[in-house]
């Protein structure tokens, strides 16, 4: 399981996290991705990074299913705290409670946070 917890721009954590997810997916791992805290902003529609000179990667999430990365979860509370709703997000994603994320984490062999 990969956990994205930082805002998409400002630091490279989420960007390099996504790079790692895509590469690990080619090694036939059972991958899930969880967005918590400011990590949920990575999913927001309508991002435009042209003025800050960095590569936007929101569209990459749409390509995840092509890599068999299909277990995507977003923390409901993190969305609510930031005034975001499911239809603000670039992909269809399962909105789950923090408790459910805890349960999912408990089932994992490996958790990598970004």
């Amino acid at each position: 399981m990969h956990v994205l917890r930082h805002a998409p721009h400002g630091t490279i954590y989420s960007y390099e996290g996504v790079e790692m997810i895509l590469i690990m997916a080619t090694y036939e791992q059972d991958i899930s991705v969880v967005f918590i805290g400011d990590g949920v902003y990575a999913l927001k529609k309508g991002q435009d990074t042209s003025a800050i000179g960095t590569k936007g990667f929101a569209k990459t999430f749409k390509a995840f299913d092509g890599y068999d990365v299909e277990k995507l979860y977003v923390d409901q509370l993190s969305l609510e705290e930031r005034g975001l709703r499911e239809d603000d997000l670039v992909v269809d994603i399962e909105v789950v409670s923090s408790g459910k994320i805890g349960e999912l984490m408990h089932e994992q062999d490996v958790i990598i946070h970004h």
């Binding site: 954590y13 390099e16 790079e19 790692m20 590469i23 690990m24 090694y27 791992q29 490996v110 990598i112």
Partner: protein, 118 residues
């Protein structure tokens, strides 16, 4: 217990590398085995030979080199993260290799625990 270590922050700027090092030493002292250390994000900067801190400070890359030699633990830096930051084969310490995330996938899955620092 077999342990893999992931370091995601660079030297000096962040405590992660120091904590990872101290953890690794303590784990081995307790009889555990540190299988490998993998460096990602700014973590790849921990193995450059070019760092030259003041003499009264710890030398973080030399310390990792000595650790690797003493415990026969390889240190791997992600190639994509390394290229981005100017880390190449000719400037990395003894005991470190630049490698792909396939290596990391193996480290993460073959050990009893993966511990992330940073």
């Amino acid at each position: 217990m077999n342990i893999g270590i992931l370091v995601k922050e660079g030297p000096y700027n962040h405590q992660a590398s120091d904590t990872a090092y101290m953890f690794a030493v303590a784990a081995i002292k307790r009889g555990h085995r540190v299988d490998a250390v993998f460096l990602y994000n700014d973590g790849v900067l921990n193995v450059t030979k070019l760092m030259d801190p003041p003499q009264d400070d710890r030398h973080i890359s030399s310390r990792w080199a000595q650790f690797s030699l003493k415990h026969n633990t390889r240190i791997y830096a992600c190639v994509v993260a390394s290229k981005r930051r100017g880390i190449s084969d000719d400037i990395v310490i003894e005991g470190a290799d630049i490698t792909g995330l396939g290596t990391f996938t193996e480290i993460a899955t073959r050990n009893d625990r993966l511990l992330t620092f940073g």
